[in-house]
């Protein structure tokens, strides 16, 4: 492949998927700088390993897979920093939704709390399926398993999520009757 072809093809991929990868990173980080870092690192990996990037519908899940690894590597070192930021935020009277998820019992926060109660794989699977709207074939690329296995895992993850959501609806209804949880 000529360098010019390679660059042109990479630019196409970048333009096609930049916003999706940026959204993925922003959904999973609390700091915009961290999200920018993940986006940059993900596309750098794609550029360096361009010959490994699959084409067609599999490009995006491949990029998600890279972003997921980048995120997990960066997460450990950011934990201490996040704790410090949280403490600084409290000192200076700042409000930050990620530190105070229950200041309002709206549905979005209940859903996010239900997600937080799941295991990391269930959580990531559901987010990729419902927020990134990946198909089972694409999810199989991200998780490096068969499509059948993905279908089973997704079904179970949805079931566990539904149970957690129902439990939280009850808690919300008790703690804040105005919210009117979906009991039943």
């Amino acid at each position: 492949m000529y360098v010019g072809d390679r660059e042109a093809a990479f630019r196409e991929i970048y333009v096609a998927h930049y916003q999706r990868i940026a959204a993925y990173a922003h959904r999973r980080t609390s700091q915009p700088e961290d999200a920018d870092d993940i986006v940059a690192e993900t596309f750098l990996v794609a550029w360096r390993r361009f010959e490994d990037v699959p084409g067609g519908d599999l490009t995006l899940p491949w990029l998600y897979g890279v972003a997921r690894r980048v995120l997990s590597e960066g997460r450990r070192s950011s934990l201490r920093r996040d704790r410090l930021v949280a403490r600084l935020g409290r000192l200076w009277g700042r409000t930050d939704a990620r530190m105070n998820p229950y200041d309002r019992w709206d549905d979005r926060q209940i859903v996010h709390q239900a997600l937080a109660r799941l295991g990391p794989d269930d959580r990531e699977l559901l987010r990729l399926a419902e927020w990134e709207e990946l198909s089972n074939v694409q999810l199989a690329v991200v998780f490096a398993c068969s499509v059948n296995a993905i279908a089973i895992r997704l079904h179970r993850a949805h079931r566990r999520f539904g149970l957690e959501l129902r439990a939280l609806d009850r808690e919300a209804a008790i703690l804040n009757p105005n919210v009117g949880g979906q009991l039943g």
């Binding site: 492949m1 360098v3 390679r6 660059e7 990479f10 630019r11 970048y14 333009v15 930049y18 916003q19 999706r20 940026a22 959204a23 922003h26 959904r27 700091q31 700088e33 961290d34 920018d36 870092d37 986006v39 940059a40 690192e41 596309f43 750098l44 550029w47 360096r48 390993r49 361009f50 010959e51 890279v66 690894r69 980048v70 590597e73 070192s77 950011s78 201490r80 920093r81 410090l84 930021v85 403490r87 600084l88 409290r90 000192l91 200076w92 549905d107 979005r108 859903v111 996010h112 239900a114 419902e130 927020w131 949805h158 999520f161 539904g162 959501l165 609806d169 009117g180 949880g181 979906q182």
Partner: protein
């Protein structure tokens, strides 16, 4: 409200970020990133061996700014949070990455860069033996060991925490170790923090260093510290009690 909506519908509705809210790929910042990537040279296949410099040109500023902005962003005077530099080769001009950990964990953090998925990883290659040295700036850097040689000496750098002291570089590392360990372990008040810092200055013979306390500090606040080697200052940073 939630009546009649399935968990799946609620989950979809709770999506916190719409891709359409992200900057368009042809807007200035994404375009600048793309240009930096493609002008940094071709990747592994085209050049026959991994090229790491793209990481240096893009990630070092991003990681450094991110660490500074996110870790201590509200204190504009602070210049050196707890960061270190990992070099891919035993050469101060080699490709590098900045990580934000205490120097105690720095070698471990750098080793992770050689593992699969890391920017220094090469297929079939194991994590090389690593050693830490002190850069002229006072920051701690990690290099692959030069077999049979004193890596830091070969690079003209001081080893950290050398017995008897090796100038300010090693002393700064010891200062950072001592203060971060003490201040991260428990809540230290202003007066105690001042005494501790001055005690460390004396122990490490950092005679011309000073400690700065921002006013108002806050009577209930605990102290954290930021070290500024360029100004030879340790600044107490007020943080709330745990």
């Amino acid at each position: 409200m939630r009546e009649g909506r399935t968990p799946r519908e609620r989950l979809r509705k709770a999506n916190p970020v719409d891709p359409n809210d992200m900057p368009a790929p042809d807007s200035p910042a994404p375009r600048a990133l793309l240009d930096r990537i493609v002008t940094s040279g071709p990747g592994r296949q085209a050049r026959g061996r991994p090229r790491r410099r793209p990481y240096v040109r893009v990630l070092v500023p991003v990681a450094l700014l991110g660490a500074i902005a996110a870790g201590y962003g509200i204190f504009s005077e602070v210049r050196q949070p707890l960061i270190g530099v990992c070099f891919e080769e035993a050469d101060v001009k080699a490709d590098r990455a900045v990580v934000s950990v205490s120097s105690r964990e720095l070698i471990k953090a750098c080793a992770a860069l050689w593992e699969p998925g890391g920017p220094f990883h090469a297929a079939g290659a194991a994590v090389p033996p690593l050693t830490d040295c002190v850069l002229g700036s006072g920051a701690v850097a990690v290099f692959p060991v030069l077999p049979g040689k004193d890596t830091c000496a070969e690079l003209g750098l001081a080893p950290p925490a050398e017995p008897g002291g090796a100038g300010d570089g090693a002393a700064i590392v010891q200062l950072q170790e001592a203060l971060s360990g003490r201040f991260l372990a428990s809540c230290v008040g202003e007066e105690e923090a001042l005494a501790l810092v001055r005690q460390e200055f004396e122990r490490l013979r950092l005679a011309d260093w000073r400690v700065v306390v921002p006013r108002p500090f806050g009577g209930e606040a605990c102290a954290s510290v930021a070290i500024d080697p360029a100004r030879r200052v340790v600044e107490l940073v007020p943080i709330p009690p745990p």
